[in-house]
Symmetry: C2
Subunit: 457 residues, 2 copies
Amino acid sequence: MKQKKYFLSEDRMPKFWYNIAADMPNKPLPPLHPATGEPIGPEALAPLFPMELIEQEVSTERFIEIPEEVREKYLMYRPSPLIRATELEKALKTPAKIYFKYEGVSPSGSHKTNTAIAQAFYNAKAGTKKITTETGAGQWGSALSYACALFGIECEVYMVKVSFQQKPYRKIMMNTYGANVYPSPSNRTEAGKRILEQHPNSNGSLGIAISEAVEMAVKDDQTKYSLGSVLNHVLLHQTIIGEEALKQFEMADDYPDIVIAPLGGGSNFAGLAFPFLRNKLQNKKEVRAIAVEAASCPKLTRGKFMYDFGDTQGLTPLLPMYTLGHNFEPEPIHAGGLRYHGASVLVSQLLKDGLVEASALNQIECFKAGQLFAKTEGIIPAPESNHGIAQAVREAMICRETGEQKTILFNLSGHGFLDMAAYGDFNEGKLVEHELSSAEIERSLAEIEASQPKMAI
Amino acid sequence: MKQKKYFLSEDRMPKFWYNIAADMPNKPLPPLHPATGEPIGPEALAPLFPMELIEQEVSTERFIEIPEEVREKYLMYRPSPLIRATELEKALKTPAKIYFKYEGVSPSGSHKTNTAIAQAFYNAKAGTKKITTETGAGQWGSALSYACALFGIECEVYMVKVSFQQKPYRKIMMNTYGANVYPSPSNRTEAGKRILEQHPNSNGSLGIAISEAVEMAVKDDQTKYSLGSVLNHVLLHQTIIGEEALKQFEMADDYPDIVIAPLGGGSNFAGLAFPFLRNKLQNKKEVRAIAVEAASCPKLTRGKFMYDFGDTQGLTPLLPMYTLGHNFEPEPIHAGGLRYHGASVLVSQLLKDGLVEASALNQIECFKAGQLFAKTEGIIPAPESNHGIAQAVREAMICRETGEQKTILFNLSGHGFLDMAAYGDFNEGKLVEHELSSAEIERSLAEIEASQPKMAI
């Protein structure tokens, strides 16, 4: 029988995260202070994050050691398996070899746990008593709730309202880990109140929820804030995914031609792709890396590369990134984790430099791919993860046309056990596509372009 | 760092199931024909099952080879990990070593997939077009739906009504795999109609759902029936769990003093415990094997060993087992998989002979243990699985008293991602215990005792 799953032994779990900034031909532009337009220093982030995370945020070291305490907790579920999707290949009648890295084995069900544990550890070490955060579909909130339980930190989660309503089980899960969860926009913060005044029926967005969580953290010395994606240190922690996959492809005596992952803020994609991109940037091995976004939130394919805020209320520094404008409010698609207006600075720079590719997919195509995956490989994928699967199916079907036996790798970033309502809508034909007009995007971008700081791009 | 997880490589996955009948000092009594009171032959089961499964049902061979096609599908998720619950041990301050075998890695989320794949395979081989079945909490129905999708068989599931209402996501999951799901009692069968006439508000039970599924299978030549527990061949397929665990304990250079698993029909318990009991029956190694039932459905601890039907309507042969009477309708506890009136013939005989132990636990104790497990080991367990955890916690706390460093193994038979509503009730203090009176049990048993066949026990 063909080997199906590749497990690394625990003693071979990587001991270092990979910082792609060290290998990028064009280094990422600095974050700017919104008032002065000047680059901000690490100290500006001190109210939000413990110093060790800030140091990682600005580091140019190629490899950063994973603390032993973090590795010990990683062993709860890592190394995660690399799996050959043999049944999916058969169903597609493709000569392509399809592999997926399965991050759904983590306790909270997605890759988010990789950075949640690291962030909770550094916070605990720095004496943080409480962490606030935002969550979209709830994957990130669950991961951080669990990580906070492990390190004895209080956890307060602002959950995008539409997801709070669509996914009640996520709230219960976070409560079970001991966290407090509030639908966002809420009345607990000034940011939330402002939004509710203007839009009493707001569905919420990640940008709004970030504003709320940041506001609560800034208010109190012993409270810090934690972000589940976008920032350099978050992407860094996720690279353990790709580092493991590199070793597992050695075991399989294979190497991917194409690496695919969904993109919300960028950590899912970066986590899998960056270690493979190292080989590309160092001219060792070629690879196509494709970030897959939701067609209803297409910052990579239809947004602009410029300075924008990470949140809706403009509380964060300005970041150089592909964005749809920080006021952009995406349609309430089920892939809540992809409903973010911008993309990480690192991924944005790589895309601008032509080193990675982007693809935007409609949700019905993604759910179809997800259902086919469920019927063949058994695992019900998270709606976000369906975007990666759908792109892999597209590439595999091209191979069927051309006869090429390419090796395709995608990140199955999480399972969909808590997203069954979305599958219910899909099964009953209730999913609709929201056509996003160019005028809408231009309008949203125009606001930002008007206020670009002087050293704009 | 201490090793946390023990993974067998795919090539070391067991190639044989273990049939404990070969080693039992007292062989199980035969099933009887309800009308004649005479032992029934294999041919009596032919309308329900393909012949290869019937042969396994009555086999006395010690080891039965797992077909290559089944092993190939097992590789989707097997071998499953053996995990040391290091964080739980710390929280309990116990000198005991606690391990769990984690069956929640299976696509449908529980151990049920082990027999579902085997049964679907033998049915496909025999030309079966459609399989009917019952399901309680939905673990079994999901597993069979997936297995049927793998082998191209139609699947029709009768789901106990209270679970159908409590767990809507399970239905969607089965639909996503392509199955049709009906709440039971339904109007689709004579059995269902009879129940609804007498009890229009019936919560349903596994016994009733079995009656419905059996009735539908008997009606049609190309339709067979499939049971998720109780029968010998089902228990047989689950022994791969314990066979793997035996090898994994060799890797860990350890051996369990106590083996624990929840018991609904018996396959969860048998799957983990039987291979360890082989060493006990062959006088090689001692072990305590504890089956944990729900206090509200206590056939092992408060029922009687006698001949009874497997279903409510009396469509099955009479089986010699510990039972509360086939009309017993347990309270609608969240651990739906434990709401079955009887216990498997094999487990019943072993209990009668003093070779295994039984324990009955209340649901609040079980949910408390489950939440502690979630906060420490991260995984949210299925309500059924919480019974195993709670018993393991009891044993570990005894070790804390005595200072003994016992090795405890329990079967984490499934995760609880689809049971979050139950945790919601628990978090909000809404769970109540239902005191089951002795009079109620006696009443239920009296009906059965009056109609025992002549060669009764």
